[in-house]
């Protein structure tokens, strides 16, 4: 019966991955950029929460509130000052630019915060330890449920934003045809900057939950990036809900792998990813109906 519990835990774990995948998917969907610094940005968010907590003895879930606008600004400025240029130069340059950024962030964090592994779980209160016992074998942790819930809420909110609001419509239009978008009055550069800002802020929320659920250190970014990317690819990027599905599948793959042998969890995820990539459907990044 441990298997069923493994699946349940995997679904809950999927919430974290979905959160990380969401920002990555947004940037890729709108700008065709894979931000190789995405994981590090999330870790940066966690460290900023840490800084807030150093001055203010509250729950991390409250401490994230002042961090979010900072992350929005960081994302917006970074897009306009740096990434925007790299977009004009082809496929190679954004990858290389964000890779360089990843190294810079990791080492600046190392310099400022030391390599110690940290966690924010201790300050998050009872939500980290509480759980509901469903059966003798299966329990659902409060933090797991909360993470999944937040992931669903954010994905839903983003979906609504894109589908129903004028700004969201403009973002979809720019994603589909940035050249024509300019011709109908959309400032494509501002749209891109907004997308990056949102992606960075969501990444920070992912970082918060990572920090609360487990641990983080300056070099935790790349691992999260890989998981986020795997979640996006497994989900197929048909819609934002795809990233939720992808995150859950990845989470379940990892927890089942862990059931077999604790050392196998990440590997199991990698294998599922490679299998999906190899399948005919796999690895095809296409925004819904992007051709015409």
């Amino acid at each position: 019966m441990g298997w069923v519990n493994a699946v349940v835990q995997g679904v809950l774990l999927g919430g974290v991955y979905a959160l990380f995948a969401c920002g990555l998917a947004l940037m890729f969907g709108v700008m065709r950029i894979i931000n190789l610094a995405h994981g590090d940005v999330a870790v940066l968010g966690a460290y900023l929460v840490l800084v807030v907590l150093d001055h203010w003895n509250v729950s991390p879930f409250l401490a994230i509130v002042p961090v979010l606008p900072v992350m929005l600004i960081i994302g917006y400025v970074f897009q306009r000052a740096v990434l925007e240029r790299s977009l004009r130069s082809g496929v190679l340059v954004p990858l290389l630019t964000t890779f360089g950024l990843s190294i810079v962030i990791q080492n600046l964090l190392l310099e400022k915060f030391s390599p110690d592994v940290r966690s924010l779980g201790g300050q998050a209160g009872s939500v980290v330890t509480a759980s509901w016992q469903i059966t003798s074998q299966i329990s659902i942790s409060a933090i797991g449920a909360l993470t999944l819930g937040v992931a669903v809420a954010i994905l839903g909110g983003l979906q609504l934003f894109l589908a129903k609001t004028p700004a969201g419509r403009r973002m979809r239009a720019t994603a589909q045809d940035p050249d024509t978008a300019e011709l109908v009055g959309i400032d494509s550069r501002a749209v891109y900057a907004r997308a990056t800002a949102i992606a960075v802020a969501i990444a920070a929320i992912g970082g918060l939950f990572l920090a609360v659920r487990s641990t983080f250190d300056p070099f935790a970014g790349p691992t999260q990036l890989i998981f986020a990317f795997e979640a996006v690819v497994i989900g197929g990027l048909g819609s934002l809900w795809g990233t939720l599905a992808g995150g859950i599948v990845l989470g379940v793959a990892q927890t089942i792998g862990e059931q077999i042998n604790p050392e196998y969890s990440a590997l199991a995820g990698h294998l599922v990813f490679l299998v999906v990539l190899a399948s005919p459907r796999g690895g095809i990044f296409r925004l819904r109906g992007a051709s015409a």
Partner: protein, 343 residues
């Protein structure tokens, strides 16, 4: 429009005076390289070995990215496999230096079936797909107790040699390997395949429609780069004696490769070599400065990516029109100065 008579006596040639001069000088330089272990101390020999490994890695990453348009964030998979493959072969009683060569071949062989999977992707998917492969291989290797598992292993068999002999032999093998791969790449780029690769880089669909076998061309580069990175990994083991999965399969290798190729000049032949020399000098000077050294490296990568995407050599080449190596074609038109055709 009235047709014009074809220009009489136009000759297509591959060498010009500068490239002939340079290659001759370089030939002399190569001989000097051979004499390094004889002339310099063991410590310097070890450093030169490191430099050669960097040159090899830069050239291989450039082969993929610059000539093949394939950005790989996972070549460390082969670096690690080359190193651990050597260990495995030596555990099975092979001579260490022979094992290094066989390990490189093993990487080449492994890359062939792998290419059927990963070459279906482009851009970011290929980049991160290779990274996942590297992570997965690293994890699998770290399970193997006979290879030292997660704590690493060393090549004890090399302790049978005296340190200076070991250093010298390692250096010569590295020199040979690096020269081999550079020459192989050079011939490849110079050949018809090289031209078709350029076509693929410029416009894949157009090239395919002209009958260029796109995936086959990329596969050759992929296998070459796998073998080269495998060789580099094996050499690293010989040079540093101790390896562990997290570092030999670590993504830092890619960071160095990206830096060297970007700074030197992606897509040029000479560029990565220059980038390797630059990184080597920086490492020697600042390598012990820890964090800021890496920040500088990452920042420099960003700077070059955004502002000088052609790298040092690429920019120089464009400004001064230099061609040091005979890799392109020139038109020599009689009674007029030589004009350049496209490279």
């Amino acid at each position: 429009m009235t047709p014009e008579a074809p220009v009489a006596g136009v000759v297509v040639q591959r060498w010009n005076r500068l490239s002939i001069g340079f290659t001759s000088v370089f030939g002399l330089f190569a001989v000097a390289l051979f004499l390094v272990p004889v002339v310099l101390s063991a410590n310097s020999t070890e450093k030169m070995t490191s430099l050669l490994i960097l040159v090899l890695l830069a050239a291989m990453w450039n082969a993929l990215a610059g000539y093949g348009g394939l950005v790989s964030v996972g070549q460390q998979a082969f670096i690690g496999l080359g190193a651990y493959g050597t260990v495995w072969l030596v555990n099975h009683n092979m001579n260490p230096y022979r094992a290094m060569i066989v390990a490189a071949l093993f990487c080449a062989a492994l890359s062939i079936p792998l290419s059927f999977l990963v070459l279906r992707f482009r851009g970011a998917q290929f980049a991160i797909g290779m990274w996942v492969v590297a992570e997965a291989v690293g994890i699998l290797v770290s399970f193997d107790q006979s290879l030292g598992a997660g704590s690493g292993t060393s090549l004890l068999a090399l302790n049978y040699y005296s340190p200076s002999k070991r250093q010298a032999d390692t250096y010569w093998l590295t020199l040979g390997m690096t020269a081999f791969f550079l020459v192989a790449l050079f011939l490849l780029v110079r050949s018809r395949l090289g031209v078709s690769l350029q076509a693929i880089r410029d416009d894949e669909h157009a090239a395919a429609s002209l009958g260029v076998r796109v995936v086959a061309g990329k596969r050759i580069l992929f296998v070459l780069a796998a073998a080269g990175c495998g060789a580099a990994g094996a050499m690293t083991l010989a040079n540093t004696l101790f390896i562990e999965p997290s570092s030999i399969f670590g993504v830092d290798w890619t960071a160095y490769m990206i830096f060297m190729v970007l700074v030197g000049g992606v897509g040029t032949f000479e560029g990565p070599i220059i980038g390797a020399v630059i990184l080597f000098l920086i490492q020697n000077e600042y390598g012990n400065d820890g964090v800021w050294y890496l920040v500088g490296l990452g920042g420099a990568a960003m700077f070059f990516a955004l502002l000088l995407p052609r790298g040092v050599w690429g920019a120089a080449r464009e400004r001064y029109g230099i061609r040091l190596l005979p890799l392109g074609y020139h038109l020599r038109v009689p009674r007029r100065p030589a004009t350049r055709a496209a490279e």
